[in-house]
């Protein structure tokens, strides 16, 4: 990832935030719409949670040697 890529992603993110606080300011169909940038936080936190919990499950329960069933 070069710096330019990060900048592009950053710009897109800022645009979504601007849209959220202008066009969608009065939007309220789910309880979580009250939380600012909810979906961004959601994506970040859930991704971390998924990776760490999957890693835990893999290590403790499901991972075996490649020739386990042979």
């Amino acid at each position: 990832m070069k710096t330019i890529h990060w900048i592009i992603l950053g710009i897109i993110f800022v645009i979504t935030l601007v849209l959220e606080f202008t066009v969608l300011a009065g939007y309220d169909s789910h309880w979580w719409n009250a939380i600012p940038a909810f979906y961004a936080i959601f994506g970040f936190v859930i991704c971390y949670a998924l990776v760490y919990s999957a890693k835990f499950i893999a290590k403790k329960i499901v991972n075996r040697d490649i020739n386990y069933y042979d």
Binding site: S29, F42, I46, C47, Y69
Partner: protein, 571 residues
């Protein structure tokens, strides 16, 4: 008769017979003709067209068309055609016949108007698809194919039992919506369909067999079995609330394994379970929007899932391995395959302007506005996992991560690129023009995918998931492992099962045989000469051959008769 052979399923199954008469050179091209004929038939039939027949006392509806069956019929014909193009270089007759028969079975189910016709095509699918696993001809795939077949025979048996029970109780064999009542017949039918839908915990046949099937076989398998079952769920079990929770559980379960697995085909196979989970969940919600979402998601999923399977199979064909441990750094050598895969990856993750965006949102919204906000969040978790596992992890460790791939690469046949190119075009086309799909959906809902809310929602999730992935990517680095699933219980338990159900049974029969023989020996010994114990009060050798009835015997019989008479008379 002429009507009978224009049924789409029959066309493909007859086609499978026809191609066997032709040489290796013509066969792949001829293969393609039959899905095209089937598609033409589907497109030229009027709404609510039916073909009827009869078997014993039953009036069968061999073909019945409506918006829902046509939607699945068209995408199945298209899928068979494109998978056929992709497999154009594959010359093996057995696989071609089984693939075409399998596709015919799927089309047959979609157009079956009664349950008996449906179960026949259902079983054809199970049998034909098994060969796509066995055709690898390794001990591992022999065993896996057998497990697959047994699982599907079990599922088909449950469904058939349910159908028979249903036909007796309801006196109807029509394929129609069933009210949510947990009667034995309904439970049996639901279980039978659940096996093919890979509803957890009945999913292990999929994750076990799909990664082991032949390269082109997996493409066919990823298209038909689960989606046919989703069609039957939409038809018969719409609004069964139980399915919501099982669907949401599938969506997350599949994701976990897709994050854990390190083999490209395993990742995509588990991811099928997750995607089908969305559809099952939508069927459970059962509103017009939800059912539209399930049908549209099945349609789109066939497009981008087969595109992704084709791309990883192309890598596997070229590099000779589907394990990401052996890959990495392929972006300079297989850039087109990467590009085509990424179109599929962006589609499946529901990024705007790609096909998944227009159907996934429908399912998620149907949950959110149908009173299931928690389920909506669970589906969003699965969305994050989708983007993480098949949108980022798989391409990153296959095409990037290392500087450059150093192994040998076989050139990829042009026909593979053609099939993938058409699918990638379709993914973008439906993403840009959602109404091209919406007009064919069974219900009118006026759903609008391109709202500011939807776009902000998915972009924020996707961007921040990407950032988190970038920080954590080293944690997901590929390694060589076997990942256990619930199939452990019948794979590792095999010795115990054999002890109980084979050896024990054997020994029981042995014991019974022994007992019977002993009894026979005892009786023949005793009855060789009954006089020995009928007349023990003599020291004469009672040899039967020399014996002549004497007075004592006659007298004892007279006394015995008198005694019996006296007892019967006086009591």
């Amino acid at each position: 008769m002429i009507e009978f052979i224009t049924i789409p399923g029959v066309i493909l199954i007859l086609g499978a017979a026809v191609i066997s008469f032709f040489s290796e050179k013509i066969r792949p091209a001829l293969f393609l003709a039959f899905p095209v004929i089937a598609a033409v038939v589907i497109l030229t039939r009027p709404e609510n067209y039916t073909v009827t027949g009869s078997l014993l006392n039953y009036d069968l509806v061999l073909m019945q068309t409506d918006a829902l069956s046509n939607l699945f019929g068209i995408v199945f014909a298209l899928g068979a055609l494109l998978a056929g193009i992709y497999a154009y270089h594959m010359k093996e007759l057995g696989q071609q016949i089984s693939a075409l028969t399998y596709a015919g079975g799927a089309l047959g189910v979609v157009y079956a108007g009664d349950l008996l016709t449906l179960i026949i095509y259902w079983e054809i699918m199970a049998l034909a698809s098994t060969w796509l696993i066995w055709a690898r001809r390794t001990p591992e795939t022999d065993a896996s194919g057998m497990r697959y077949l047994i699982y599907h025979i079990l599922g088909g048996g449950l469904l058939f039992a349910g159908i028979l029970w249903h036909s007796v109780v309801e006196e109807s064999i029509a394929v129609e919506s069933i009210p949510m009542e947990y009667t034995p017949a309904n439970i049996l039918m639901l279980l039978g369909v659940a096996v093919n839908t890979a509803i957890i915990p009945l999913h292990t046949w999929l994750s076990d067999a799909y990664p082991k099937a032949t390269q082109t076989g997996t493409i066919f398998m990823s298209i038909f079995t689960t989606k046919t079952a989703v069609y039957v769920l939409i038809r018969m079990f719409a609004g069964w609330e139980l399915l919501i929770f099982f669907g949401a559980a599938m969506a997350v379960y599949g994701i976990y394994y897709a994050v854990i697995c390190k083999d490209m085909r395993e990742i995509l196979s588990y991811h099928i379970i997750s995607q089908v989970g969305y559809m099952v969940c939508a069927v459970g919600i059962g509103t017009d929007l939800a059912l539209n979402g399930a049908a549209a998601h099945a349609y789109n999923n066939i497009l981008y899932k087969s595109l992704m399977f084709m791309a990883v199979t192309a890598v596997m064909y070229s590099a000779g391995s589907s394990k990401m441990f052996h890959l990495g750094g392929l972006y300079k050598k297989l850039p087109w395959v990467l590009g085509l895969y990424v179109v599929g990856g962006l589609s499946i993750s529901g990024i705007p302007l790609f096909a998944g965006f227009i159907s996934k949102g429908m399912v998620i919204d149907a949950a959110g506005y149908g009173g299931y906000e928690t389920i909506m969040l669970v589906l969003l978790v699965a969305s994050v996992g989708t983007w993480l596992s098949v949108g980022l992890k798989l391409p990153y460790f296959t095409w990037f991560d290392k500087e450059e791939y150093t192994g040998e690469l076989k050139p990829i046949p042009v026909n593979m690129y053609i099939a993938m190119g058409i699918l990638a075009f379709a993914c973008i086309f439906y993403g840009v023009f959602p109404n091209a799909l919406y007009t064919f959906l069974p219900f009118e809902t006026g759903y609008e995918p391109y709202t500011v809310y939807h776009i902000v929602e998915i972009l924020q999730i996707a961007l921040l998931t990407f950032v988190a992935f970038w920080f954590l990517r080293k944690k997901l680095a590929p390694e060589l492992t076997t990942v256990l699933d619930l199939d452990w219980f019948y794979r590792k338990a095999a010795p115990a099962v054999r002890r109980v159900f084979v050896f024990r049974v054997d020994r029981f029969y042995d014991d019974v045989e022994e007992a019977i023989l002993a009894m026979a020996r005892f009786l023949s010994e005793k009855f060789k000469n009954p006089m020995q114990w009928l007349n023990p009060f003599t020291d004469k050798k009672n040899e039967a051959s020399r014996y002549s009835p004497s007075m004592e015997v006659v007298m004892s019989f007279i006394i015995l008769s008198f005694l019996v008479f006296a007892i019967v008379y006086f009591i």
